[in-house]
Amino acid sequence: MFKKILIANRGEIALRVNRACRELGIRTVAIHSDVDAQSLHVRYADEHVCVGPAEGGLSYRNIPNVLSAAEITGVDAIHPGYGFLAENAHFAEVCESIGIAFIGPTSEHIALLSDKSKARAHMKKRGIPVLPGSDGEIEDPKVCAAIAKKLGFPVIVKASAGGGGRGMRVVWHEEELTQAIESAQLEAQTAFGHGGVYLERFFEDPRHIEFQIMADNHGHVVHYHERDCSIQRRYQKVLEESPSPALDDSLRRKMGQVAVDAIKSVKYRNAGTVEFLMDQSGKFYFMEVNTRIQVEHPVTEMVTGVDLIKEQIRIAAGEELSYRQKDIQLTGHAIECRINAECPDRFTPSPGAITKFCPPGGPGIRVDTAMDTTGIVHPYYDSMIAKLIVFGRDRDEAIARTRRGLDEFVIDGIKTSIPLHRRILDHPDFQKGPVSTRFLDRLVALHSP
């Protein structure tokens, strides 16, 4: 097992990894930007190294400084968290080359799976159901138009290197197609440095279902069942739950097996998420594999009792998976609310000083945050300041308890998305069960000032 791990992140996920390390008896090194010197993730760590100024590109994403920090502190491994360097194949590769374990998949896995178009082609070849679409990237407008007509409008143009809704265009009519492709290519080129795009059929009211996967270096792969992440605002996840109210046991088993097959087909290692799009009829299609631990991993931990971060670390250290598929049972229901520092109506960031931070407590409540009893929300980083994760014996109890937890949560000094979560949880459609990824955009449109 590793003796010392550098946590190449900040905020709640840095604390989350720190906690896993402490429980495993592993020493920790925090990195931080200069404005984060007093942050909780720094205070929790055994050692800490300042790696640059406030701006993430110069500190948390600064590969030479992060690796130097790993070298001067003599760590065995680096946990990248999510965001920053977590899906940077080059970073993983340099780690491998200097003999520091990157807690995640290999650089080849990241490279293959971060190219959405290639991943799609690979999965299709292996018999994994993918969304109807183009074979690989598209160039020629005429070929494009033919594919689109065959798929039937609307279609969606997606960037191969994309993520988070960038480089995406929905096309409703043939005459809009060429322009949509060009603008998506331009946006993708600007955002990711690679302008390649591909075509898929567009579903208007899909659900977003993803399976948590773990694979060890000994050929074992298990899934920890699904998360339903259909509550999104402009392709950004807002609230997640497990299990999905849209799945029954038979569909769950089927999708779980497909997810495991997809992962096995690339000989994947460590934690990953297989994302599916599911239509109203229950048909599901592979979308992509996320090659990192995800923000919403705690809902899976709540319903399976597994510590996914510890499992990641154990596997990276060469241990075997500590569960077989049959040991992984779903119990109860879990919901996660991402609490962002933002105006709940206009979604503009609300950085500043938190004058009082008092999380809820009692049964079934878990809070992951890097806030102390007070705190600072810097404008340089992600606006998520806390995750409220709630367990209940069933979905109804989880919803009632989440509402109770939101009511108890005190965050003074800044605006947060707590009122938005209340609106979601109070909504009869959400309470009833499955909603689509467009539920929240519609709800927000109704309330927009």
């Binding site: 190294v49 300042c50 030479p64 400084n65 690796l67 130097s68 001067i72």
Partner: protein, 154 residues
């Protein structure tokens, strides 16, 4: 105004009076009450002002630092994370010593990161007042390495 609120305010007034306060703020479950009254002038004439002034206000903040020398010193900080070396190689002399005069652009030390030697240069003319880190020590971003007195160099 509900009776209970009225009662609360009156209770607060009572406390205000009893303890000779001039202001009282009370907040509870979404109800906030603030009451204020002028300090009572009656006793003012009896205060011997001259003595109060002579005695010296205990609230006086200390002024600017008496010994102000370091205020104009420049701090050379590490622009990267790595290992600090005062000399180009183990068997050569350090680039600079305390007391040395340096020119802008002159190499002061090396910070090694990922097997690369990064030379750190002086940003202005001056005298090396203090070397803050020992050779071969790891340093982080922004860590002070040297104190330079720019006046001494001019």
């Amino acid at each position: 105004m509900a009776d209970s609120s009225r009662r609360e305010i009156e209770d607060l007034v009572e406390v205000l009076n009893r303890y000779h306060l001039t202001e009282l703020e009370f907040e509870k479950k979404g109800v906030r009450i603030r009451i204020k009254r002028d300090p009572v002038p009656a006793s003012l004439p009896q205060v011997d002002v001259s003595k109060a002034v002579e005695s010296g206000s205990p609230l006086e903040r200390p002024g600017p630092l008496h010994s102000s020398e370091p205020a104009h010193f420049l701090t050379v900080t590490s622009p990267i994370v790595g290992t600090f070396y005062r000399s180009p190689s183990p068997d050569t002399d350090p680039y600079v010593e305390e007391g040395d005069l340096v020119k802008k652009g002159q190499v002061l030390c090396i910070v090694e990161a990922m097997k690369l030697m990064n030379e750190i240069e002086a940003e202005s003319d001056g005298k090396i007042v203090k070397i803050l880190v020992e050779s071969t020590t790891p340093v982080e971003f922004g860590q002070p390495l040297y104190l330079i007195d720019p006046l001494s160099g001019s």
